[in-house]
């Protein structure tokens, strides 16, 4: 490794300040770290001989918590060993009293991360077995409770730089696992049947006319024996769905796609069996098995994409902490104990430290503080909370440790209400009839018509051939190219899109992007980063340099968690300022600002400074001493990178852009004007946003939404297609069709172009399948189709479709 690497942290990759670096010797090479936590992780990893992780990982890791430096299980994990929680998250297994638990891993970014977690856990004493699923990011651990505890396991994962939380396997998860495995077995049986039946059909493909009758019969009946399980087991659900669709025809007046498929299968199988018994004509068993195999393959691909979508309940569990600090005997003794949130009741008193997430809804009863509600309401600035104010679960406490009385926990909280609105919205989501389904519907209708028409005509000419022709038309038409046309194009496009930084969760995104007529954007966290940056310093008193004022203000703000304080710290760090040492301690005066001796830093009303009422500013603070104002610092929310590229790409397609935000109307208006969005609405609740989309949809618009917060979750779920910004709330991701993992919006502009291309390829593929069929069907109608010609044509058309889709992989 080169020396230049020493200017960044070996573990998390953040840049190092020369005087703050920790360094240690690993494998004979001196490595630098930004904090004790990073150093501890790297030492753990190297200590176990797992350092190949650093060479293999795709991205640098996140910055860990500082407490990792000591080998102590932190107090927030200890309640997991409480019997009430342990019983919920573990299951007994085997005779030796071992326990099994499923954990969900966080911060996993690449295969190296999965490998590291698995190896590290295996090396822990008491762990019997570890199974990590790379796709679902869940790990199943079997451990002996005598040697190791659940809290210890969670801590071991934190010690190598990841996070884990116990996962309660719900019924729906079990059901979807069963569904997937069942479909896979059905597909496997169909594929085996297809291969074997095709092998038996080979003599007739190559046109060997010298097969004697007894061998023909042998081959025929073996094929039949293999086709029966494919028809009964693999295609069983198709027949069931077709039957249900016929039964409900009176109410729905629509026949599903399964009806013609089931009809063709049943007809072909009956005709084949009759032909086999009478000893004349074709058996069609190769076509039947192939048809079933391809249909099931397409359905399996679709199922995989659908199951990746996360349910609202799981996301909600991730949003809230599992443990909290309960205050006993308030207000006399104020003992604090750490308890699982599920054990808390309304009326009990909780303490929430700064930097933590509020676990329940309640009322502030002591210690005023300010909380960040941006994920819940979209409000960009922290809200000052006074005694008696409502505090909501899922918000961040940022200033002081606050004391609250619980009003509601679990399912009755505001955030759980939003989660259930999300589940409702997903149910109400308008179903998009995909292009392929529409075409397939027309195609099958056309095919049925052709088949019955030609058999009716043959009934006049030669009644003995009518039945054969009917089946020949149904079977000779190539279903493979048609069934492969869309899945191959989608799979190729999804690979390309993932590399650009968009994770597709529900399948119709690429198609929806082409159709979108309106784009609804959220402001905080989507249009902007929701993070203030120091824009300029004004009103500077003569005699003071800009740097001096900034250094002084930063010294006052040192250790504060307020967003404005953090942005001052960043600005000072960027300019490499050395901070002056303050002679007197800093006093935090809530709602006003900070003071240290004569220096005061805070709001304009407290300092008595003149405030420029430029709306859209994130805020301003003023620095003063006994002689008056020294400087004013003006902050601005930063727009997300690539916003202009993205908006111009969207406008070029004549998509109307809307800005809908929970932030105050003046700020929303200012931003809308700045980036050039004409329709905007501020001060929206989650329900307002939901209504906004519903209004657009009832006006016949096809709505595309992008958002990041909990308050956007119902909106994302309701929109025709939606994208959640990856760093946002898990609940928002649960409602969205795709998740933007890149932090810039530029990839979305490229993805729009790719969506066009995908649509083109799908159309070309369908067109090709149609042309092939337009040639094959009339030939079959006239009784001209020779089996081996059909076989070659079928393979070639499938190959052409696959190769065409492959072009999408290059971006």
């Amino acid at each position: 490794m080169s020396k230049s690497l020493n200017s960044i942290c070996y573990h998390c990759g953040s840049s190092l300040l020369p005087n703050e670096a920790y360094s240690t010797d690993l494998n004979g090479v001196s490595r630098s770290f930004c904090c004790a936590g990073c150093m501890a992780i790297a030492q753990t990893i190297h200590g176990e001989g797992l350092e190949v992780f650093y060479a293999r990982r795709a991205q640098s890791s996140d910055k860990p918590s500082a407490y990792l430096a000591s080998d102590q299980i932190p107090a927030k994990l200890l309640p997991y060993d409480d019997p009430s929680l342990l019983g919920r998250f573990t299951r007994p297994v085997g005779d030796e009293g071992d326990l099994e638990t499923t954990l969900r891993l966080e911060k996993i970014r690449c295969a190296a991360c999965v490998w590291l977690c698995e190896q590290h856990l295996r090396r822990s004493p008491g762990v019997k077995d570890v199974q990590i699923n790379y796709v679902t990011q869940k790990v199943k651990i079997i451990f002996s409770p005598k040697q190791v505890s659940l809290a210890r396991l969670l801590f071991e994962i934190e010690r190598i730089g990841y996070e884990a939380w116990p996962f309660e396997p719900s019924l729906s998860v079990e059901r979807s696992k069963k569904e997937k495995r069942q479909l896979l077995t059905r597909l496997g049986v169909a594929l085996l049947g297809m291969m074997q039946v095709m092998m038996y059909a080979w003599p007739s493909y190559v046109g060997a006319n010298d097969i004697t009758v007894e061998y023909d019969l042998l081959l025929g009946w073996t094929s039949w024996a293999l086709t029966v399980p494919v028809m009964l087991y693999s295609a069983g659900p198709i027949f069931q769905a077709a039957w249900r669709s016929v039964q409900s025809f009176k109410q729905t007046h629509m026949l599903g796609m399964d009806v013609p498929i089931a009809l063709a299968l049943a007809l072909a199988f009956t005709a084949g069996t009759i032909n086999l018994v009478t000893g004349s004509g074709q058996s069609y068993f190769d076509s039947i098995t192939m048809f079933v195999a391809f249909i099931l393959a397409a359905r399996y691909v679709e199922l995989l994409a659908r199951q990746d979508a996360q349910g609202g309940a799981e996301a909600l569990a991730k949003q809230l902490p599992a443990t909290c600090e309960r205050v006993l005997n308030y207000p006399q003794a104020q003992q604090i104990e750490l308890v699982p949130v599920v054990n808390c009741m309304p009326g009990e008193i909780l303490r929430v430290s700064p930097g933590e997430v509020v676990p329940a809804d309640g009322m502030l009863i002591a210690c005023e503080s300010s909380v960040d509600e941006s994920l819940l309401t979209g409000e960009s600035k922290p809200i000052d909370k006074k005694i008696g104010d409502r505090i909501y679960a899922g918000t961040h406490n940022i200033l002081n440790p606050l004391i609250m009385r619980i009003d509601a926990v679990g399912q009755s909280t505001r955030i759980a209400g939003i989660a259930s609105l999300l589940d409702q919205a997903l149910l109400a989501k308008p179903l998009m009839v995909s292009l392929a389904e529409k075409w397939a519907g027309y195609f099958v209708g056309f095919l049925l018509l052709c088949a019955f028409l030609s058999s009716a005509i043959w009934l006049y000419i030669d009644p003995s051939k009518a039945w054969t022709v009917l089946v020949a038309v149904l079977v000779a038409s190539c279903p493979c190219a048609l069934s492969l046309a869309v899945p191959t194009a989608m799979a190729a496009a999804q690979g390309a899109v993932t590399r650009l930084g968009l994770l597709i969760v529900r399948g119709h995104v690429m198609e929806g992007l082409v159709k979108a007529s309106d784009l609804v954007l959220d402001k905080t966290g989507t249009l902007t980063m929701g993070q203030p940056e120091l824009k300029e310093i004004v009103n500077l008193r003569s005699g003071y340099r800009r740097e001096e004022a900034l250094a002084l203000a930063t010294a006052l703000e040192g250790g504060q968690r307020h967003p404005l304080a953090l942005s001052l710290l960043r600005a000072a760090e960027l300019e490499n300022l050395s901070l002056p040492v303050l002679s007197e301690p800093v006093i935090n005066q809530l709602g006003k600002g900070l003071s240290s001796g004569a220096y005061r830093l805070g709001s304009s009303s407290w300092i008595g400074a003149h405030q420029d009422l430029q709306t859209g500013q994130y805020g301003q603070v003023h620095l003063a001493d006994e002689q008056g104002l020294i400087a004013s610092f003006i902050f601005l929310d930063t727009p997300r990178v690539g916003l202009q590229d993205f908006l111009s790409a969207v406008r070029a397609r004549n998509i109307t852009v809307h800005l809908v935000s929970g932030d105050d109307p003046a700020t929303v208006a200012w931003w809308a004007q700045k980036v050039g969005i004409e329709s905007y609405q501020g001060g929206c609740t989650p329900e307002d946003k939901y209504d906004y989309i519903e209004r657009l949809q009832s006006a016949g618009r096809f709505v595309w939404a992008i958002g990041d917060g909990v308050n956007d979750a119902p909106l994302l779920a309701r929109a025709d297609i939606s994208i959640a910004v990856g760093a946002g709330a898990p609940l928002a991701s649960a409602g969205a069709d795709a998740i933007l993992t890149a932090s810039s919006l530029t990839p979305l502009a490229k993805i729009l172009l790719l969506a066009d291309k995908t649509q083109m390829v799908i159309k070309e593929n369908l067109m090709w399948a149609l042309i092939y069929n337009l040639v094959a069907i009339p030939a079959a109608m006239m009784g001209l189709v020779n089996p081996w010609i059909a076989g070659v044509g079928m393979s070639l058309s499938s190959l052409a479709v696959t190769l065409n889709a492959w072009r999408l992989r290059k971006v």
């Binding site: 001989g49 190949v52 999965v114 699923n133 496997g188 085996l192 042998l218 073996t222 024996a225 293999l226």
Partner: protein, 61 residues
Amino acid sequence: MESLFLLIPLSLVLVGLLAWILRWSVKNGQFDDLDGPGEAILMDDDAPKVGNSVKPTQKTQ
């Protein structure tokens, strides 16, 4: 050619066996994660080269 009367039923038995193996492996969860093990085996290959020689010295902090 008479051997076909033996070989073809035999192939049916083979298909049956394959279907049974497939069912067993699906139930056993062999297809639940298709990416992880493939990546993991690559990582394990590299480990002994770098790992063995340095492991003991690094235990001390």
